[in-house]
């Protein structure tokens, strides 16, 4: 099985999908000849031609809107928003049009499309290249929200997203494009080659949407995470020597509530880790769901580990990032008798 980093896995997913389906078109800023600023679309224009893979103007609103028109025509756009921080000019089209079209046309015009976008910090991107806006999309009925955390899942989830009949917002945790991240920014980066999930099958396979992965089994507490924070949380529970069960949500909407419920009922304790700011973040939704569904199994209050309620500050990146220290304190709190 080939070993791939997340970028190669995503690139491979595009190729597999586009070879199988002539109706898939890929466009976005700098994604054509150059292959994208993170190189996810490298080589696609060469293989599939300029009418299926092309550069778009710096106009996220226009990119999403034209994708709506294309989906209405009956082809399948897989578009890239260069950074999640740039997605806001397209937000009206995503919220008012993409998400609601199937509903408002009583099913006559569904909007199957994938909106890919790198998100998250830890790369010294400052305020405008580090944000985690997933909760702005999980809040919108009609959208599915997917976040992979490994090369294997990235390819399988992207293929599933492309084949899904509903619009999918596909957030790619750019900090772990090239290697998993344990939260210790001062240590050398580990490449994906050392990680078992860098074994990416050739050809077509999917990781189904709406299914979480239990990436570490345990009995003492349940950790819910997605994207970069899966790896940071795994490292933290390892360092604390905790018998923790770590769940990688993989899809935020629709959420795999059954896996979460099963785990928290077993452990009686729950910690949720997200990189996004705290207030009204997706962790708040998770916390409410755990409380509603597992209340009488809880031994301690549900804990959230999050970014701060500030913009992502450039120089203070590691004071902002919910790293090992913040996790350690929260783990101690949730485990206190």
């Amino acid at each position: 099985m080939p070993t791939m980093n997340m970028i190669q896995a995503l690139n491979d997913a595009h190729k597999v999908a586009m070879r199988a389906d002539n109706d898939i078109v890929v466009f976005g800023e700098d994604i054509g000849f150059f292959g994208g600023v993170f190189r996810v679309t490298e080589g696609l224009q060469k293989e599939f031609g300029k009418t299926r893979v092309f550069d778009a103007p710096i106009s996220e609103g226009g990119i999403v809107a034209t994708a709506v028109g294309m989906a209405a025509y009956g082809i399948k756009p897989v578009i890239e928003i260069q950074f999640a921080d740039y997605i806001y000019p397209g937000y009206d089209q995503i919220v008012s049009e993409v998400a609601k079209m199937r509903y408002r046309t009583a099913g006559e015009w569904p909007m199957p499309m994938v909106i890919r976008t790198p998100y998250g910090g830890g790369i010294f991107g400052g305020q405008t290249h580090s944000q985690s806006p997933e909760s702005l999309f999980t809040h919108i009925a009609g959208l599915k929200v997917v976040i992979p955390s490994t090369p294997h899942d990235a390819k399988g989830l992207l293929l599933a997203a492309i084949e899904d009949p509903d619009p999918v917002i596909f957030f790619e945790p750019k900090r772990i494009y090239n290697g998993p991240f344990d939260g210790h920014h001062d240590r050398p980066v580990t490449p994906w080659t050392k990680h078992p999930a860098s074994d990416v099958p050739e050809g077509h396979y999917t990781v189904p949407l709406g299914k979480a992965a239990v990436v570490r089994k345990g009995h003492a507490l349940t950790v819910l995470a997605y994207g970069t924070m899966v790896h940071v949380a795994l490292a933290a529970v390892e360092e604390q020597g905790l018998d923790a069960e770590v769940i990688d949500l993989r899809t935020l909407v629709p959420l795999d509530i059954a896996t979460i419920k099963r785990s928290v009922e077993k452990t009686g304790r729950c910690l949720i880790a997200q990189e996004a700011p705290r207030t009204s973040g997706f962790a708040a939704e998770l916390s409410a769901l755990v409380q509603e569904r597992c209340f009488y199994h809880l031994e301690a209050p549900v804990e959230r580990v999050t970014g701060w309620d500030t913009p992502y500050p450039h120089a203070y990146e590691w004071a902002y990032f919910p790293g090992p220290k913040r996790l350690k304190r929260a783990l101690e709190k949730v485990m206190a008798d």
Binding site: Y296, H297, E299
Partner: protein, 453 residues
């Protein structure tokens, strides 16, 4: 003649009231459809109100300058009742009454405890235990079994009535998990002491240790013995059952059915059911039975064992074992083979209700050719139903459960249900029963086949 109430519509997207600027008609005027009645001013606009109907003005809402709330009557117009437009009842109450009727139907559907084995009901376990206990349950002659917190004797119970219990809990700190465990054990947390800031599992353990078995047993006053005369329907049931068991050599065959697809179909049909009653599994099972029986007519029969004559029945007159306040009754759905699942659902509801309220006619309680018995979610995993003489077969429905099964080498979670079939071995062979069950399976596990004509 009819009076049409023209109610002031919401003419401006969410306004609350409008001012009468001018009347263009007065009481007594005869007006035409679309004729201008009044000018109304809102904070957004002044709009002309036109009459949706023709007729005579019999009442107007107020004077120029008055504020009229949206939705209140602006004018009452006497119309020619016979020629009334179909749309006239629009702003009246008819629509709501229709809905109210629909709701009543729904309520009946929900009250049908006989057959509604859904997974959801089975799942709702610990947290609803208390609520269930508070539902009025018929007094039964059996001694109180079990010792759950909900059936504590008087003096103990008074110490844990909801109000005092709440007060006690308010002072006690404990995690939700500790509370749940205490509740399951019937322990009043107010009685548990702790050395820390809140009660922990270890405190509960200590409490259990020192209070031993008395946690559950203490305070259970002996019940008075009761003598109950077996009369009326009860005696009739007793005699019938004894006679059935005495005369009929029963054998019972149990088969497991995969109802995953059927449950999906049922859920889908319920979603779009409109004004129909909610479908339980019962009408689907009856349909399956009616389709399977023609091939195995020896089961849809009555046996006069005094005369040694078997009558194989052409029609399916399905007896429906129904629990009533007086005991078991068996109302009969006649010609069930001729009914759709919707009709069966409606008829089953009607008959069950009639039996429960004692309004069932005599002929509605006799003449069945085979009987179906179901306790819904309480249906157990298997049963040995007693044949309803002079019939020769009875089918009991056991509960639907999610089970792990192996399908084509893959492990899957499926919804499974057992049916238990008892037959009169004098006239029905095991081979017949087994074949009938397999035929039934072909329908129950394939809803498209089941529901196609």
């Amino acid at each position: 003649m009819a009076n049409y109430e023209f109610k002031l519509p919401d003419i401006g997207e969410g306004i609350a009231e409008a001012e009468i600027v001018a009347w263009h008609v007065k009481v007594g005027d005869v007006i035409g459809e679309d004729q201008q009645i009044a000018d109304m001013m809102t904070d957004k606009a002044t709009v002309e109100m036109e009459s949706p109907v023709a007729g005579k003005v019999v009442q107007l809402a107020g004077e120029v300058g008055d504020q009229v709330p949206i939705g209140s009557v602006l004018a009452v117009i006497e119309t020619d009742g016979a020629g009334a437009d179909v749309s006239l009842p629009a702003s009246g109450q008819d629509g709501q009454e229709t809905t109210a009727e629909g709701e009543r139907t729904d309520t009946v559907a929900m009250a049908d405890g006989a057959v509604a084995p859904t997974a959801a009901q089975e799942q709702a376990m610990p947290s609803v235990g208390e609520e269930r206990a508070s539902e009025p349950t018929p007094v039964r002659p059996e001694p109180v079994e079990g010792l759950s917190s909900t059936k504590q004797p008087q003096e103990r119970h008074s110490a844990s009535t909801s109000s005092s219990r709440t007060a006690g809990d308010a002072k006690v700190l404990a995690s939700p998990a500790v509370r749940a465990r205490a509740r399951d054990l019937g322990i009043d947390l107010a009685q548990v002491r702790t050395a820390s800031d809140r009660i922990r599992h270890s405190d509960l353990d200590a409490y259990l240790l020192y209070n031993g078995g008395s946690v559950c047993g203490r305070g259970l006053a002996p019940r008075q013995d009761e003598t109950i005369k077996v009369v009326g329907l009860r005696r009739k049931i007793a005699e019938n059952m004894a006679e059935a068991k005495r005369r009929i050599p029963h054998f019972t065959l149990v088969e497991e059915f995969d109802v995953t697809d059927l449950e999906d179909t049922r859920a889908m049909m319920n979603r779009d059911r409109g004004t129909n009653p909610k479908l339980t599994l019962l009408p689907f099972l009856i349909t399956a039975i009616s389709k399977a029986l023609p091939d195995w007519p020896m089961l849809n029969a009555t046996y006069d064992d005094d005369a040694s004559v078997i009558t194989r029945h052409g029609a399916l007159n399905l007896g429906m074992a129904t629990q009533t306040p007086n005991g078991l009754m068996v109302p009969v759905i006649r010609d069930a083979q001729a009914m759709s699942v919707w009709q069966l659902a409606t008829e089953a509801l009607r008959l069950a209700e009639a039996a429960r309220t004692g309004k069932a006619a005599r002929e509605e309680l006799s003449g069945s050719s085979i009987t179906l018995s179901s306790l819904g979610p309480m249906g157990g995993i298997t049963s040995t139903p007693v044949i309803n003489r002079p019939e020769v077969a009875i089918i009991a429905v056991n509960k639907v459960e999610e089970k792990v099964v192996v399908l084509d080498g893959e492990i899957e979670v499926r919804k499974r249900m057992n049916l238990s079939l008892s037959c009169d071995h004098r006239v029905v062979d095991g081979w017949d029963a087994a074949n009938f069950m397999q035929t039934l399976k072909g329908y129950i596990e394939n809803p498209i086949r089941l529901l196609s004509a």
